[in-house]
Symmetry: C2
Subunit: 380 residues, 2 copies
């Protein structure tokens, strides 16, 4: 078995588990920083390992276009190419074709699109995206799916589910190395009966793991929670459950309570590059004037390299002076914050006190202190 | 004594020494990476320490304008503000006033100028620049000087020397903490009699160290060498000799042979951000197509983190994808290359074989291999 469920919280559906991969075991719930182009932006592998990152996400679409799978295969796979020894999950590229590619034409056979880099024409189908991920050597590979935008009509969402299911069936026929796990993806937009249908049919295909796709695509937070809450219980209990592209600390804690195991999001690294830091007392924006003379660390309770050695005033100076080190230090801190939060999440579940932990954490996190980030950056 | 001359090469004027500062001792000849805005671009202090960097350069002009000396003083000085425990030399800002400031008016009293950041008006004089560097807590402080552009007339150069000498006299009257060494700066453009006059008068003022200023300001390489070669021997033998803003590996080896001890330059970090790497076989530009599939390290003979773990193809991918990690890895490598070269320089001098070392090093360095950087980047 690739996934062991080790404990379920007595007060919620939150659960602890272990995902076994060819590059080591990962404790769940886990947050995977996003390394789209064979690097988690502004972080070296050694810095990530020291921050306790257990698993990262790569992107088949981007890597297929640049630098190309042939090179990465020759380099010995994505792990060796980017010097990341721990597990990697790769997204199939379905979402990127829909969000980034210039022109695209979707048929039941697959997707024609033009590269967002140079306009070159490409065709991807369920078999091809798994072949790409085989070349990359991903520990977890995602199937090709059709991600509905928000909002979309019930009919459009139904058509995307049908296509997603057809592609999932085709994916299941692809012979992959035993060490590479392939996860199915549930679509269905915000429509419960479509989510139910998609989840049931995918469950019957017996994938080693399941993802909830098509959330955090622009819908309001309540709808995200509602969709995740309705979909997660539909997924097989003995398989890992991954919420794609999620999210804020609030989103993640909410979804863990509902029984989700895996998360990825650009938020910690993207926010870092704009000067926003996560702290136990909420997000702060170091561009705010209140931090100008603040010689305290970004987060007093954090033991990362940034918080151990540098002040808010210094990091603010770096951000204003457009110094690369500012992005490095804040990315490191934000990823460390997420990783540390997930460790606390797992400890709380193991001790059957997850709901208490979540309440306490969010009470403090939502108490805005001076310099808090109050703009609508979450919606970016 | 702040400076001990420990050995002079039997075959040249090259010399080894130790500069003692409040933040430790530095073996000379030494190369100081440039940390203009309280950070060596794209490098964390821990990465620099691991690369064997002994001393860095900061810039009084930039730090005075942003984030301001009051904040840095409150933070406990520049070392604590930027978490750099080893020695720091700060440039006075004279060069920046001439090269960066918007409007400026120079009188014998000092310099009026407008900030290049926000246009605000400022006045600096010899006393004020030392006061700024006292606030910063610099181990080595530079006096205010007037740096002649290239080309300039003999009369202009003479006037700049007179003003530089007047300001040096005023600087010598400033009471500085004993732990902070103040260096004088020789100007005189490319005119030998002006260099001689300036060096003699400064020597009589008995500064703890001397710099050659006004070189590498746009003149051809032969004139740089000629000016350094004529000026260095004029400087007191028992004091450290610092060539400001120099240079390429070739420049540095040439000047070491002439008896210079200290160097700083933006080249290793600036080139890194454009994809240019220093190797024992010369500079290479990773943007060149020849590196696309090259899975060998940037420099086979280098033991830095970049060369130990990543390939030319990977770093090239990062540069093309505009990933910050590309700048981080190449900056680290280039600084490591310089630092390792200086260590070899010191060993060669101590073994009385500096000229042999220099000849061998440059023979290999000048052998262009495929992918070599052949453009005029040196002149940037």
């Amino acid at each position: 078995m690739h996934f062991q469920l080790t404990h379920t919280d007595k007060s919620s559906r939150a659960r602890c588990g272990i995902l076994h991969t060819a590059h080591g075991s990962v404790s769940t719930p886990v947050f995977m920083p996003v390394g789209t182009q064979a690097t988690v932006k502004a972080l070296s592998p050694e810095v990530m390992e020291r921050s306790g990152v257990e698993m990262i996400l790569g992107n088949a679409y981007h890597l297929y276009l640049r630098p190309g799978c042939a090179l990465i295969r020759r380099a010995g796979g994505l792990h060796r190419f980017m010097n990341w020894p721990r597990p990697i999950l790769t997204d199939s590229g379905g979402y990127q074709v829909f969000s980034l590619a210039l022109l695209r034409r979707i048929t039941d056979e697959g997707v024609w699109f033009q590269s967002h880099i140079d306009g070159s024409a490409h065709f991807l189908n369920p078999e091809k995206v798994l072949e790409i991920q085989r070349d990359l050597g991903s520990d977890v590979c995602m199937v090709l799916d059709e991600c509905s935008p928000y909002p979309c009509s019930r009919e459009e969402a139904r058509a995307a589910v049908e296509r997603t299911l057809g592609w999932a069936r085709a994916s299941r026929q692809v012979q992959m190395p035993a060490a590479q796990l392939v996860f199915g993806i549930v679509q269905g937009s915000t429509f419960e009966e479509l989510r139910v249908q998609c989840a049931r049919e995918l469950a019957a295909m017996d994938f080693p793991g399941y993802a909830v796709g098509g959330v955090s695509v622009g819908e309001p937070a309540e709808l995200i929670y509602k969709t995740v809450a309705m979909t997660v219980p539909l997924l097989p209990e003995n398989k890992p459950r991954y919420i794609m592209g999620m999210g804020t600390p609030e989103d993640i804690l909410e979804s863990v309570a509902g029984g989700a195991d895996m998360f990825d999001c650009i938020i910690p690294t993207r926010y870092a590059r704009t000067g926003v830091a996560f702290t136990h007392n909420g997000k702060i924006n170091l561009r705010n004037a209140v931090h100008t003379e603040d010689l305290s660390p970004v987060d007093r309770e954090c033991d990362c390299y940034c918080c151990a050695h540098f002040s808010r005033a210094y990091v603010r100076h770096l951000i204003y002076a457009k110094e690369i080190l500012g992005a490095q230090l804040l990315s490191l801190h934000n990823v460390h914050f997420y990783t540390a939060m997930m460790r606390q999440v797992r400890e709380a579940i193991a001790a059957d006190r997850f709901i208490v932990f979540k309440t306490d954490f969010l009470n403090r996190y939502r108490t805005a202190l001076p310099g808090a980030e109050t703009d609508a950056a979450d919606g970016e």
